[in-house]
């Protein structure tokens, strides 16, 4: 397979060199990647790569193929590659997904037509390079809701126990892996970066509704502000984007309800 790069001489820079044998049953996929090199480019540009792929491959495998064999300068984050660490959130065919959780067979165009997969960095955060974004504004909002256990009084000598029913109230929001898929799918966050965003509210929800925590009022105060939950327009992009299946919009509505009725 060959890369359709503008500059073929530098295309293989940093890559592993000779390409591996194409497995039987592989099809050729066109990867259209939104690329940006801050040292050279003024604006991001699109670049296409032809990559052999099995239907059972993950989209992350295609990115690996490009980086290892076609163009070593392609930059993206990934760590565990199994949907746990939340590093490889990106816009795949226009929706926020983890590249390691999307299978090629789910993106194939029907009727034997050639398949093109577009990959962009997640929106609303500054792009450092290619698919790599600056996550700091995202984590700043996360830290601002105080996502840790807050208690008063003496530390108990035993573990802090809780009934199964109390635990179930915030079970959904404990699943967050901070991949930023939800926050960067939110149209309000795209234009107004000071909005806390769905992920921060989900992580506030995880402690607000925890019977062992005593900081609910403080967190509700933080989220009652102009950049808090009232900015949510219930577009449900976040719920659709969450790779962990968290009912994000529902969690935001529960925080609104707690504020409205002054009851957790």
């Amino acid at each position: 397979m060959t890369a359709t790069t503008e500059n073929p001489e530098t295309a293989a820079a940093g890559s592993r060199g000779s390409q591996p044998p194409v497995p039987p049953g592989a099809i050729t996929i066109t990867l259209r990647i939104r690329r940006f090199n801050p040292e050279v480019d003024e604006e991001p540009t699109w670049q296409s790569f032809e990559v052999p792929a099995l239907p059972s491959d993950r989209v992350l495998n295609l990115l690996h193929y490009v980086k290892w064999y076609l163009d070593g300068s392609l930059t993206f984050r990934r760590s565990c590659a199994h949907g746990i660490c939340g590093s490889d959130a990106m816009r795949i065919n226009g929706v926020n997904r983890l590249a390691c959780k999307v299978l090629v067979k789910d993106l194939l165009s029907g009727g034997g037509k050639a398949t093109t997969i577009t990959m962009e960095p997640i929106k609303g955060l500054p792009v450092h390079k290619d698919l790599l974004v600056d996550m700091e504004p995202f984590f700043e909002a996360f830290r601002a809701v105080k996502p840790y256990l807050m208690t008063t009084g003496h530390e108990p000598t035993r573990e802090r126990i809780q009934s199964a029913a109390d635990r179930a109230r915030f079970d959904d929001t404990t699943k967050c892996i901070l991949c930023a898929c939800c926050t960067t799918s939110c149209p309000v966050y795209w234009t107004e970066g000071s909005y806390f965003g769905p992920a921060a509210i989900v992580n506030a929800h995880r402690f607000i509704f925890d019977s062992r925590d005593e900081g609910a009022e403080e967190r509700l105060d933080i989220l009652n502000d102009v950049d808090g939950v009232w900015r949510c327009r219930t577009t449900f992009n976040c719920t659709d984007a969450c790779p962990r299946g968290i009912q994000v919009t529902k969690a935001i509505q529960e925080v609104k309800r707690a504020l409205l009725f002054k009851r957790v």
């Binding site: 830290r143 309000v188 107004e192 102009v226 009232w230």
Partner: protein
């Protein structure tokens, strides 16, 4: 020793919460006024456009007859106020969401508030001072 331009680690970048319930109340107001407006506006449209020959019956005498009753005065007044506040608050959130510069946001909001005050005061003034015995 030169001073660094970096913020201290973990220094708060965000303004602390203002402990104001304004956003909560404006959110709640949108829901409640929306419900009321469904009744008021649909009722208004039904009376004006469908009942008794519809829009063709509306003339000076028809309006004068309606506004001689405190009930319709109150109906139109609440419709005016609720629609202005509901629409104005909606536009305020749109401006907050979409204005990219603080100056743009500020001036758009000033324009919005001025127009709201103008329309509400003019409408209220007309409803309360309407004189059916106009001559010449």
């Amino acid at each position: 020793m030169s001073t660094l331009d970096l913020a201290a680690p973990r220094s708060p970048q965000r303004r602390s919460a203002r402990r104001s319930n304004f956003e909560l109340y404006s959110w709640l107001f949108m829901r409640l006024s929306g419900l009321l407006l469904v009744v008021l506006v649909l009722g208004h449209l039904f009376i004006m456009n469908i009942l008794d020959g519809g829009v063709h019956k509306i003339n000076f005498a028809f309006v004068a007859g309606r506004w001689s009753s405190p009930f319709w005065q109150f109906w139109d007044l609440s419709m005016l106020w609720l629609a202005q506040l509901h629409g104005g608050n909606g536009l305020r959130t749109v401006i907050n969401d979409y204005a990219r510069k603080d100056a743009t946001r500020f001036w758009l909001k000033i324009l919005l508030y001025v127009s709201m005050v103008l329309i509400v005061s003019l409408g209220t003034f007309v409803i309360f001072t309407f004189n059916p015995n106009i001559s010449g």
